[in-house]
Symmetry: C2
Subunit: 302 residues, 2 copies
């Protein structure tokens, strides 16, 4: 069933990355406009060489649903902007206290702590600005409102920000596997679901059955992505990762390998991959790109 080979996938990913980088460059405030330092910090963090996983998911879902990519440029950008703001704040001294991110000095190291806090704050606002302002997105205002509702819910205290709070509370404590899953479902999973749900909301004719299938897919790959992240913290290397290998262990953070071991973690990731593939069974080959992404999530080395 898979029609996508590694090379065509890489070409697609590169195309999606280029596309979102151009969109981000368009929406980010100019470094020539005051306050200059704040705008520099925002651009520095967002335009750092990230994998662009969330925009890739947005474009791949749009492609699976037969949507014009221009219709979801704003969604791809908004999600990457929210993700970038969360990285800036997570890296702060009071949070994970990280110096290295995407192969560069973290925002508070390259600038200063106050600027990093404000850059994150302003980026969150920018994401909502893009979703409410972008003229290329669906002209269905109530669908747009629904997107904003979902993004605000999934990035707030009962989504991404709540997951980070659970993560910090877990340092040095022993969690069981269920508690770890709940934490990651919030911290990483919520935003991955948002990518797919917002893209689905751009389609005026999607059945609720297909919407649910995509959401099950999103839940599964959101968790498998995180498990692979935890595995890479054990077996990866700092240069490939762009952040220090072993930092979770060093910080005494509970991870999938630390709770259930490496082998069981790999099994769990594979199980979730199969669950994601099963969820997509009501789609034909148009969803092959999504199937490929699920495999990529658990096979990636950075």
């Amino acid at each position: 069933m898979m029609r996508i080979d590694p090379q065509s996938f890489e070409t697609l990913v590169l195309q999606y990355q280029t596309r979102v980088n151009q969109t981000l460059d368009h929406w980010l405030p100019s470094e020539l406009v005051h306050p200059i330092k704040l705008h520099k910090a925002m651009r520095y963090s967002v335009l750092a060489p990230g994998k662009r996983v969330r925009p890739i998911l947005v474009y791949a879902t749009a492609s699976a649903l037969g949507l014009e990519l221009a219709l979801v440029d704003g969604i791809a950008a908004a999600l990457e902007i929210i993700h970038s703001y969360s990285l800036i704040h997570d890296d702060l001294p009071a949070m994970d206290d990280d110096d290295l991110r995407r192969g560069r000095a973290t925002c508070h190291c390259a600038f200063d702590e106050a600027t990093a806090i404000l850059a994150g704050d302003a980026l969150q606002a920018l994401a909502f600005y893009v979703l409410s302002h972008d003229q290329s997105m669906t002209s269905d205002s109530s669908a747009r409102l629904k997107m904003i509702e979902k993004l605000s819910l999934f990035s707030g205290s009962q989504g991404m920000a709540g997951g980070q709070a659970m993560d910090l509370a877990a340092v040095g404590r022993s969690l069981n596997i269920d508690e770890l899953e709940v934490m990651h479902t919030h911290k990483t999973g919520a935003l991955i679901r948002t990518c797919i749900q917002l893209t689905a909301l751009s389609s005026s004719q999607l059945s609720s059955e297909k919407f649910e299938a995509l959401d099950t897919y999103a839940r599964s790959i959101g968790l498998s992505f995180q498990i692979q992240d935890d595995i890479l913290d054990v077996v990866g290397d700092t240069q490939t990762l762009g952040k220090p290998q072993g930092s979770d262990m060093e910080r005494d953070k509970p991870t999938f390998p630390s709770i259930i071991g490496l082998d069981a973690s790999r099994d769990k990731a594979l199980f979730l991959h199969h669950k994601a593939i099963n969820a997509l069974s009501i789609f034909d080959e148009e969803a092959d790109i999504l199937r490929y992404i699920s495999a990529w999530f658990i096979e990636r080395t950075h």
Copy 2:
């Protein structure tokens, strides 16, 4: 022309404060829901005894425009939530490093720094959730989108967050009066304009002439409010203010009194009050409450 006496104004203010406090309580996440500490911090900061200046402005403007107050409950709450998030982040050690706010320990002192950062982040998301989700607001989805666009623009890097960045950059430097005005136009003024513009967007039949008049009013009182804040930092007392008197001076922050002196600051506030009153001349007595608020802003003692 003024039909409002001090007592009826106080009764109205109390009514507005009670109304927004109930609305905030409704929208804030329960302390019984995980992550509990984060939700406690959010409620602690938002439900602290603040003046509720922004909700008061929202309700007063709605009243001047003959709108049902229920139509703007979501706007009043969203604005107070955004204001609260900005206070939490402004008080952080890396920013203004304040211990006292609204007569209580600041969020990072009562909880911890990481929780304060996340509480602010989650509150920002919550404000957008309220504006996109509240069923009592206008059913005109495109007006709702416009509100979200304005809030995101006025609270972001070219609004409130940008103003805070300019404020931090100004510590220990000498600004001229124009630079100080630009900073405050962003830091405080933008959100005050948002209160009035979002309320105006709830009215389907407001002329652009009246919209512009209200915006001029908002710009004027946004600045006079800040000038009075600066004056109170010199002449107020800590207990009435709920925050340390003299903290701007101590921190070597440029203020209106430090640049043009106390008397000229008072003159400037009075001039802005007159400008605000003039802007309202196309309204009849229905705008008396707004006229009274302008006077209150420059006469208040806390």
